[in-house]
Amino acid sequence: MAKTGENELSDICIVYDRVRWEEKELFEKATKLGHTAKLIDGKTLSVSTHDGSVSNGFGDIVLQRCVSHYRGLYLTACFEFLDMKVINSYMVAEVCGNKLLTSLYLSKHNVPTPKTHFAFGPEVAADVAGKLGYPVVLKPIVGSWGRMVIPVKDKDVMESMIEMREEMPNPLSKIYYIQDYVERPPRDIRTIVVGDKVVTAIYRYSAEGEWRTNIARGGKAELCPITKELEDICIKASKAVGGGVLGVDLMEDENEGLLVHEINNTVEFRGASSVSTKDIAAEIINYAARMAR
């Protein structure tokens, strides 16, 4: 780690498996701020239990930015095994990459979150949904960009979904994550939390004809004011899952107010950057440099 004036300069490594806008932005910002930055393709890496030298060449800290959840997760486990500093930690990646664990952690730490139910077989899944009353929301435990998130309007749709899920080869598809349907405006809130700071918040409006608000689904971004309430909930949610660089997503329940429904471990911030007055990439790089010390 070098020192220039009052600023400690770090050697920051961005591990990717495809370079999105965000990884490029992080790399360029780190370089601009005077740090040494490099981009390393996670798909080219191998780690051994008996060869610690693998950790050479990654610098002071790694920003794990793989698109593939499992590749990022297990690379993080290996990096930590090699005593390397990684953002985010394995435990954070494990919890945030799994909606069931996220819901459990949020609830355990009294973070307002939608009521969510887990069923471990097809019959009990149908029973749970029936007792809740339709509509309910069915989500895969692992997955992102709103993929396979289904608003289940009635018993027939639920039964079809269960039949389909039982035929899927992925064992996780047989664990049912059933969430109360939240009556909300056609938008949700994405906040970018870096350490103990809510850097920015945006509203994400659903694209026309789309129920989900994900930017990846064509959702549109608009700046959202960071109120004290929003800030407190986001910081509490971030702490509940272990903290780091996170995308905390919230819905505005018409009756219960703000509810955190998801936390993203390798947060995409292109949409947020397009409307935010804050330099999100610079905030992340400054945080990484602080953590590297």
Binding site: D17, R18, G97, W145, R147, N265, T266
Partner: protein, 57 residues
Amino acid sequence: MKVSCQECDKELNVPDDAVKGEIVTCPDCGSDFEIASVNKSEVELKPAEKVGEDWGE
């Protein structure tokens, strides 16, 4: 920078500031390619990884 699509052979435009690891899509056939290397004005592509069930944020 220009390079031929490995699928349909049509010419593909790669932005000058493109870096290794970025994805380019052929506007003609829609195939995705990962930039394997960039050397001055020479760019090499390889087929991009298929979107996985665990992909996302």
